[in-house]
Each structure stands twice: as C-alpha cells, then as structure tokens.
Symmetry: C2
Subunit: 234 residues, 2 copies
DNA sequence: AAAGGTAAGCGTTTGTTTTACACTTGTAAA
DNA sequence: TTTACAAGTGTAAAACAAACGCTTACCTTT
C-alpha cells in the first residue's frame, strides 16, 4: 500500500519534540559507576545530565540512543534496554519535550574509560553523583530499580564485567547491585550450576596471593536457556 | 526558574506526532479476551485495531491513555502499565508517528462488558483475534509476553477477576495465562500461604454442587510484601 | 429417603533446592 | 620455612516443590 501524501492524514494532531536519554552504568572493582556529561545547550547550559539528544526524522528512538552514545562516548555495540518514557508536559521548561530513556551496562576497561573521557563525558561513583537537571535524577533512580529487578531473571552481570573475570569479581558486582553481602560458597555453587561459565586455565592474581581462576560467559548456553524458558534467579 | 519564551530553545529539533495505544485484556470464565475497535479515521478506516489516540499538548502519555480508555469504553480507574514505545520511522504510512503502548487487565463483569459494547469497542477471544492494522499485532504479542512475565512476580491475577472469586477460578486464570495445567492442591496451598487472600463466608455454587468458598484480595498485605521486597513467584 | 456423582478441599510422602557454616589449598611476602 | 589470606571444596539441616490419595459437601437421581 502506498501513501504518497503523508501530510494529508492526522492534521488535527499536534507534534511534540521527542528526545532520548541514556543512563549508562559501569562497574569498577567494587562500585557501580554512572556516566554523565556537561550539557552544551540552553537552558541548563553547563548542568550535569545523562547523555541525550533529540530524535531525528528518519530514526527510531533506539537508533537515536545508539547514535548519541556513539557521539558522546565513542562507544559502539552497546546493548541498550528501554527504561521508560517520560512525558509530563511540564518536565522541560524549555519546550514540550518527551523523552524515552534507555539504560545500559558496560565493561569498565581502560579502553572504555579513556574513550569516554576524551568525549566530554565523565564517570561518577554512583554514591557521589551530583544533582542532575530536569527529571534525570528520577531516571537514574528508575534505572537502578530496573537494574535490580532485571538482575533477578537475566544474567545481567556479564554485561558489566570484562570478557574474562573471576567468580569473586562477579560476586562483588552482584553485591553492589543488591547492596547486600552474599555467601561466597553458595554464590559460587549456584552460578556454576547454571552452566553459563567456561573455566579458563589462566588465573588472575591481582586479588590474592593464591589467585582466582578466570572464567568466560558462555553465550551459547545462555541462548539455549532463554529459548527453553528457564529462569535465571540469583 | 522561569522560561517565558519556550519557543526560543531547541529550534533545530523536529517535532513528531505522538500517540498512545492500549492493549486491554479481560478474563471470562476460562479464556483471555482482548478489547478491539474499528478505526474511524483514514488511513486504515474500518480496520480492527487496539484502542488509541494522539497525545495532546497538555497531557502526559499516561493521561492520554486514561482519557482514550474512558472515551472508547466508558471504563475508569483502570490500572495501565507502560508496555513499550514503538518508534520505527516507517511504522505508520500515514505520517511519522511514534506510539507509546500501555497494557491493562480488567475484570470482565457484566458492567464492563456492556459499557464497552455501547462504545463501539468489542471483546474478542484471544484465539479468534482478527488481523490488526499497523504494528498492532506485534503490540498484542509483546503485551502477552509481558503479561506472562509480570504474572511471575506480581499478583496480577487479582486485577483480572471480580472482587470476590473462588480459588478454582483464580487457578483457571493462571492456567489461561501460562497455557498449562496446574495441580489443584499445590496451587491452593501456595496461593493461600502467601497471605494475600481473605476467605469469606459465602460460597459460589455456579461451578459445582458443593460450591467453592469466595475470597477477596488483601491489598494491605500485598503492599507490605512489596515494601519488604518479597518475591511473588507462582 | 437413600444412593450416586462431582468438584472442592485437606494431608502426606518424596525429592530438590537453599542456607549456614567448617575445613583445605595455593602462593607471595616476611 | 613460616605466615597470612583469599580461593576453593564439602556437608548437614531446613525449607520448599511436586506428585498424588483420600474425604467432604451438596445437588441430582431413583
């Protein structure tokens, strides 16, 4: 079916500015980090905010989110999860703007750290986050809630760690997400029983004299589990 | 802070038409039902679609969803859960329109049934759903997936049943959602152990000679559970 | 008035998962 | 070669889930 004259339909409706905002979490040693940058346009010029942009005419909101992440941080191939649409008519005093928020988790390796810093973005320890403009504080809180929920039924941890990681590292991450301590032995047992980790021959000795074996996430098995509808509750 | 001249900001950005669509599920005896209506504007005049509308200048998307549900069905005080934002530039050949979908569950009592039918909307058995316009088929599928997921960690069942209901009724509902049979005795045990049901003195004798006791959902206990972070996995 | 049929409701047994906690191992530094 | 310390293994008790047999209430049929 062809619609050569798009403009003829929906004349009575009033268009609205649409933006995307990305709440990006990273994990470093034992703390969650949040990616922020200094706003470059008025109003709120110079205020801290999460990374965002307006949605252009020929892109979906997820395309826009991918684009803006690339523009502001140089990062690519990052998985973005829709968080919520923020649409209060009064949320932005600059204009009627609705914003689709996305959230994402990334490996905090040296590369990611450096790329980001050369693009006017900055990592903050989640506990030292400055006050953000507009409703961005709420977005971050919502993203945290969603992160915790999501961590219960999806192997989210692996998105936040480097390709090779140790079990104690993985545990620290879950402890940071849930904000509570877990039993070392039970954690190991449970996570290994899922069959999602491939043990490597290498050890990481940065954490102890003995050193801890490195593991890799087995994405193939994970796909199988998802297909079979298996739960991933930690 | 005052911004008397809203128009001066964000000049470079291009506004987009924003719509809401509501995927409304009901439950009747033992089958899930879907609320649809015949579209009244071009393009796709006369096609079956879920209930929707454009978002107006001074309302949030959730306000718009509540409004449109009221306008099309006469129903009020319905809980609407955000589903997803559909933003593909090509999704509507009539214009660039993005749509925030909501989904909701309602009690299928006589009142709701009748109200709806006098407002040009119609209930379909989920299995007999006609093909829908645009991406509405996808929305319905996404809503179903979300319904199943949500049913795992939230006492969603109670939204779909009348105020007073029997345990066998509740079980039929869960069986319709999960599409599989559950053990009568274990279901009863588990659901009662949660402390979310208040037993009444009345019986409903429509289903059997013996009759089944009616129960009510205890919203207060549920709030407590949510606050304490307890899971509700069925 | 008694017998029969049927869904509602209750309890027990068995197997699995979670929790709690004690002990052993490997390695760099003293 | 001893020490310190995180990494890693094992096990018993408790809680939970799955499977399934039996009893109860009440209408219908005879």
């Amino acid at each position: 079916m062809e619609f050569p004259h798009k403009k003829q339909y929906y004349k009575q409706a009033k268009p609205i500015l649409v933006a995307v905002d990305c709440i990006i979490f990273g994990f470093n040693q034992s703390t969650l980090q949040l990616l922020l940058f200094k706003r470059k346009i008025a109003p709120f010029l110079g205020a801290w905010s999460v990374i965002g942009s307006f949605v252009q005419e020929q892109e979906s909101t997820s395309d826009a989110a991918i684009r803006v992440l690339q523009e502001h941080t140089g990062l690519e191939n990052i998985f973005l999860d829709p968080l919520a649409l923020y649409s209060d008519p009064e949320r932005d005093p600059g204009a009627r703007v609705i914003s689709q928020a996305y959230f994402s988790l990334i490996h905090l390796e040296d590369e990611a750290l450096n790329k980001v810093e050369t693009h006017q973005a900055r990592w903050f320890d989640l506990k030292d986050t400055p006050s953000l403009m507009l409703d961005h504080n709420i977005m971050v809180q919502d993203a945290l809630d969603k992160l915790r929920t999501k961590a219960r039924y999806s192997p989210i941890g692996f998105e936040l760690l480097p390709e090779k990681f140790t079990i104690p590292q993985l545990q620290l991450l879950y402890e940071a997400i849930y904000q509570k301590e877990l039993d070392r032995r039970n954690f190991r047992k449970k996570i290994l029983s899922m069959g999602l980790l491939d043990k490597l021959d290498e050890k990481d000795k940065s954490g102890s004299r003995k050193g801890a074996f490195l593991y890799q996430f087995n994405a193939e098995n994970y796909q199988k589990m998802v297909k079979e509808g298996v739960d991933f509750i930690l």
